[in-house]
């Protein structure tokens, strides 16, 4: 009886993942090209960028926070990266007199800006005690405005080949090993180490479990939260840089709504919105199955407007399942 119950609970707790994998299998049977190598590479590339964003958001969620500025920060990072990675001979360059800058310098610049945004988020949340939802919502609008000012609402194109190669290239020309996938994997391993093997990781889970107790135990909650939001900013910077390369250009609307996708991926993957719970491997699975569903819908020719409805329902189900887990534990 107990065994039956635990199997039932396992199936219910992972219902979203099971449903999405089932849907993907059905689509694969109906549309055989779904399981092609090209599609698989596409899935890895799409998942890679969103996984990096989700890892950034996960730290905020684990401490009972959130980051609604994630998508816009990624967009701004992509716009900055694209602006400074334009080919020298491109006729509509944003800065015509600017020569070709080293890629690493541009990456560091992009990271600096996004970490600064994360730092501001962290300061407002931890020092001023503004609820993360409100603080990051405000930051979302500020970053969007800054992006409009920076780009003049003009799309940026004509990117350098060495930059776009990051997204199109793969190790030893093996389709299954695209650079984007490898970069995401390395970041995943580093963040797994940070979450599980460092004091910062332990503090993060402690704050998510019970902030007051954590503070009483001597944990510097302000500093830990600052580091969490700055790390999130770092992730958005890297993701934005890669997204620019992947898209072959950038515009102000880039990254719009990515924060919700990231939160969805995290929640599907077992990161609790109630804080204190979440694993990197779960986030990877969550983001992967969410992307799988999106690609499956494209293959089935689901009307675009309905894809948004489906994604919205998926997010609500994921949160409902999370609440169910919490209620069942009581």
């Amino acid at each position: 009886m107990k065994e039956k119950q635990s199997v039932g609970n396992f199936l219910l707790n992972n219902a979203m993942i099971i449903f999405m994998i089932g849907a993907a299998i059905v689509v694969g049977i109906l549309r055989p090209t779904f399981f092609s190598m090209y599609n698989f590479k596409n899935l890895i590339s799409n998942t890679a960028v969103r996984f990096i964003i989700a890892v950034g958001v996960s730290g905020c969620l684990i401490t009972k926070g959130t980051d609604l500025s994630a998508g816009r920060t990624v967009g701004l990072a992509a716009c900055i990266a694209a602006t400074f990675m334009q080919a020298a001979d491109y006729s509509s360059k944003v800065y015509p007199n600017l020569g070709e800058l080293p890629m690493l310098l541009v990456l560091l610049g992009v990271i600096f800006v996004s970490v600064l945004i994360g730092l501001l988020n962290g300061l407002v949340i931890s020092l001023l005690n503004v609820p993360p939802f409100i603080a990051t919502l405000g930051m979302q609008t500020i970053v969007y405005g800054a992006c409009l000012v920076f780009t003049g609402a003009q799309p940026i194109g004509g990117l350098r080949k060495d930059y776009t190669n990051i997204s199109s290239g793969s190790i030893f020309n093996i389709q299954l090993l695209p650079y984007l996938g490898i970069i995401a994997l390395v970041i995943g391993v580093i963040m797994w180490f940070v979450y599980n093997k460092t004091p910062h990781g332990k503090y993060m889970y402690a704050i998510g479990g019970n902030e007051n107790s954590a503070e009483v135990s001597g944990i510097n909650t302000v500093k830990t939260k600052l580091v969490i939001y700055m790390t999130a900013g770092l992730m958005y910077g890297i993701a934005g840089f890669l997204l620019g390369a992947k898209s072959g250009g950038a515009s102000v609307n880039m990254g719009m709504g990515y924060e919700l996708e990231a939160i969805a991926g995290c929640t599907i993957g077992g990161v609790s919105t109630n804080g204190g719970v979440g694993r990197i491997s779960g986030i990877l699975i969550g983001v992967l199955v969410f992307e799988l569903l999106k690609i499956a819908m494209q293959f089935m020719g689901v009307e675009t407007s309905y894809t948004y409805i489906v994604q919205g329902i998926v997010i609500i189900i994921a949160v409902a399942l999370d609440i169910r887990k919490y209620v069942a534990k009581r």
């Binding site: 109630n274 089935m300 020719g301 309905y306 409805i309 329902i313 189900i317 169910r324």
Partner: protein
């Protein structure tokens, strides 16, 4: 706070730290009687909505509906 008497916990009523621990879910649960059973029903309805949206979207997208 009511539990504190001159910054000392009287040991009878719930300790303030434990109370704060519960967070917004507790406040929500106090207002809406959420049980595993009622959540199962809500989740089942949401899954049905999801399937309906997928089916209608596919039919519309392929010009059948």
């Amino acid at each position: 706070m009511e539990q504190n008497n001159g910054n000392r916990w009287d040991g009878k009523r719930p300790d303030p730290i434990t109370q704060v621990k519960e967070g917004w879910y507790e406040k929500l649960l106090a207002r809406i009687p959420l049980t595993v059973k009622s959540l199962n029903i809500i989740i089942a309805i949401l899954f049905l909505l999801l399937i309906a949206a997928l089916v209608i979207g596919t039919l519309k997208g392929n010009g059948i509906l």
